[in-house]
Symmetry: C2
Amino acid sequence: MATIKDVATKAGVTVTTVSRVFNNRGYISDATRKKVLQAMEELNYRPNELARSFYKNRSNIIGLIVPTVSNPFFGQLATCIENFAYDNKYKILICNSNLDQAKEKEYVEMLKSNKVDGIIMGSHTLDVEEFKNLDYPIVTFDRKIYDFPFIRSDNYKGGELATELLIQKGCKKLAHICNNLELNMLGNKRTEAFVDVAGKYGVQTVMIETDTIGFNRQGNDLAIQNMFEKHPDIDGVFVSSDFIAYSVMNICTMSGRKIPDDVKLVGYDDIFLGSLVKPYLTTIHQPIETMAQCAVQTIFNQIEGIRPNVDNTFPVHLVERETT
Amino acid sequence: MATIKDVATKAGVTVTTVSRVFNNRGYISDATRKKVLQAMEELNYRPNELARSFYKNRSNIIGLIVPTVSNPFFGQLATCIENFAYDNKYKILICNSNLDQAKEKEYVEMLKSNKVDGIIMGSHTLDVEEFKNLDYPIVTFDRKIYDFPFIRSDNYKGGELATELLIQKGCKKLAHICNNLELNMLGNKRTEAFVDVAGKYGVQTVMIETDTIGFNRQGNDLAIQNMFEKHPDIDGVFVSSDFIAYSVMNICTMSGRKIPDDVKLVGYDDIFLGSLVKPYLTTIHQPIETMAQCAVQTIFNQIEGIRPNVDNTFPVHLVERETT
């Protein structure tokens, strides 16, 4: 690989002159500038940005921790975050925690040591204590930690809309499938709304908790199967993630339950699958792109010393399709 | 943020001593070591890995360029690559090219300047010329560029298996939907096999090319719709990606074609969706996890000066499910 010295030799100038051209500093004649640029090009010389960022203490990299990008919601979120970061000359270091506490911790340490310019936390199994000493730009997704700014959709409203729709459609016994509530995610408000609305209308309810990422296919399928065996009269299901809604659809088909005739189904997120695979999924739409943009902007604001909004709550709306 | 000087002051030792403890070099008494470590902890001091990697010229970061992780195939691939890299203390800098040539080029430049330790290219719209001066560890997915090592599944075999199955099942007029063939991907062998097998059996064929990532939903849907309108007697479809197979399924349902009774369908990849959404998709299985592992290992080998295999071809097999 060519060094700055090689460039200087080839151009017949000093290293200082090359450095001046490169950094656009000091007086350089047009002829000299041209000679240096030509030498740089011929030698395919790249200024070492790693070294430069060391000096200016800026990596232009943002760490993104999610459970796994192979979950379509996080795949879409990561893509939107990456697109917006790219437009602003930032790159994304992606970390799949698999909701493994040890891995998540190691990643936080790694990102700290690597001096990324900020962390977007879309996965949180860590004890809150672990975050106490994080002293730089951070924003969380769907979890409140200390005073860190957080991004969420209007989870309570979403839960209300979903549950009310099922009741309006005549469902008499509702099931709700949600994340592990112990993880204390802001998304738990979806469940709170479900309980409130069902209580208000006096409708019978069943609840099951799954792991958050919904990648334990076997475990989830089994839990859903058991639920229908124990409560064969369930006629409406609100699932707090679209991805797991597909497991419900699957179990229903296998057990001869027709959607929406026998069981009505509402998801949450509005991932692209909802309008790709038949029957199209009724769901609560979160504005994933806008939320991703806000997450990146919140990191930028902190980098630039602008006080970010702490509570960034985005409106949701019901998208009624074919499963209700 | 605490500096090495702060640690030295707090521990009552010199900066050199702190550095020695940190780098495990030179003689340090246990008492001093303990004092320094305690000060580091109390001040939450992190050695600056960015600076260290500058000195040892190693970033422990691998760049991964894919069209977009929101395509489930690349989402799964990225996850597998990240998992394997993580186990080996490497991180993944993820770049979604969106198959935009300008973006891809900018990313390659960015990765070069950032001194990543290697690049895994899963997206290639660039002219081969652009790669001529890349002088460090690289591995490509499904494309051959110069002598760079490449990873692929046995595309020709996969195309054979898919086409033969459709013919065995009695299909008389076959459609094939594939990537833009001009991109000159190794996956084009799937199409070659389709043409060969259909020719051998004297079966009528129709072919359409889509963009590679299959994210131009509207465009793809329209092309598939037109295809069925122009050739209403198509009774078998081999799609070179599972993801686009779902568009075919969708259009078939909308136009009243039953799968597999009226139209039989075979995909390629074996993404998780195939066994999640009914009807389960018949497809050609690529060993995504093993291929991901091989990609990372190929970078590691090059870093360590071990000559990597150039041609890394992985066997495929037919997974027959409900769409044939």
